[in-house]
Symmetry: none
């Protein structure tokens, strides 16, 4: 991917914003941010981001207001917007769509979930961004369609398995610790036994290695797992 979309984050809670920035940068996005509605509006006009992640509750100017103002301006009229709303405020969702948000995500959210939505919206708005695929040694992950293929044959993976494989495929060869994999596949701040990763890896392996296909998941004893070529 040569093009690096600039994502603008309007979120007032510093911690949330930083985590988000981190995850988005990991994903390969450029990131700009503001912590209140007013400055968000200004900075957006300057920087012309490719997409806006907009918290519903913002000081100075509410998300809905920001949204409306953006839609009223010719330059920003078509800026894709993803709303962050608190759980239970379903009404907000409705109003969000009314004022022109392209999608919404309920807090608390999984980073990977939000990233998936971002890609979806970007694809929708910019068809020239061909659908994102991860590929390695005959394994293809179609992120848009959530499909897994090995050597042309489709593989059935559950959501969690798909996310874990996705993390591994994002950087072939690189070894991920179990903790990192939990962060990437389950979400930052989720606490699970390390062994859970082992079991999930096993499930992926047995789904992936049909027939006599070589096992491409390398176990690095004492450290973690990676996707790799023919480890003897």
């Amino acid at each position: 991917m040569t093009f690096k979309p600039l994502i603008f984050v309007a979120e007032d809670e510093v911690g949330q914003a930083e985590i988000l920035r981190y995850n988005l940068e990991q994903e390969g996005f450029k990131v700009a941010a503001a912590n209140n509605g007013l400055s968000a509006l200004e900075k957006i006009k300057e920087q012309q981001p490719d997409l806006l992640v907009l918290d519903w509750m913002l000081p100075e100017m509410s998300g809905i207001e920001v949204c409306r103002k953006l839609r009223a301006n010719d330059e920003t009229k078509r800026l894709p917007i993803i709303m962050l709303t608190a759980r239970g405020e379903e009404d907000d969702r409705l109003r969000g769509f009314e004022v022109g948000a392209d999608d919404y995500v309920v807090k608390p959210y999984l980073a990977s979930e939000l990233i998936a939505r971002i890609w979806a919206v970007l694809r929708r708005t910019r068809p020239e961004l061909e659908e994102e695929k991860l590929e390695f040694e005959g394994i293809v992950l179609d992120l848009a369609q959530h499909k897994t293929i090995r050597d042309g044959e489709q593989i059935e993976l559950s959501t969690t398995e798909f996310r874990l494989l996705r993390a591994l495929l994002s950087r072939p060869g690189r070894v991920f610790s179990r903790a990192q994999l939990i962060d990437l596949a389950w979400g930052t701040g989720i606490f699970l036994e390390d062994r859970t990763v082992d079991v999930c890896v096993r499930r992926i392996r047995s789904a992936l290695n049909v027939g006599d296909k070589p096992d491409l998941i390398r176990t690095v004893r004492g450290t973690g797992y990676s996707i790799d070529k023919a480890n003897k």
Copy 2:
């Protein structure tokens, strides 16, 4: 590496802090330190370090408070922070992320583990520091991939062996005492026989010196070991 990152250590226990300083300096970092939250905050503003290692429990001002204050200030808003938390305090980890820590390490920790995290965070923040390989005289350690290569051929090393070789390769020519090597490869505070290092070195040697390759690990009688060119 021409650029020497300045690491700021905020840790109240003097012994811990000194060991940490030593290990970080070994790694080639510059180090500044404070033993309470308040002075840490002041010194950080003066010295503008590249990264902060922040103990969770600090006198005067807790780690979480320091973190929050730093995030609230424009100059220090993006300072990468690694939290040190006690084992079992999982809640702290969550709160750590909430207030914007970039990573966390659980005490007691492996010096090499912390150093790895520091590099990871620095790389994330400063992509130009993409240095994930150690190389010397045909030996290549790929830290990200956890692979060892000599003259193009892959070598199988166990975790411990890998860590020990890594310590040696981090500063070619430098002689490490057995105690230092135990700190670096096994972890600070681990007690082992010095002879264990000898055995581990032997294992590395026999894995590395396939064929008639020269032995690059030099034994310094009465002192320790180092990686060095062709010692006859």
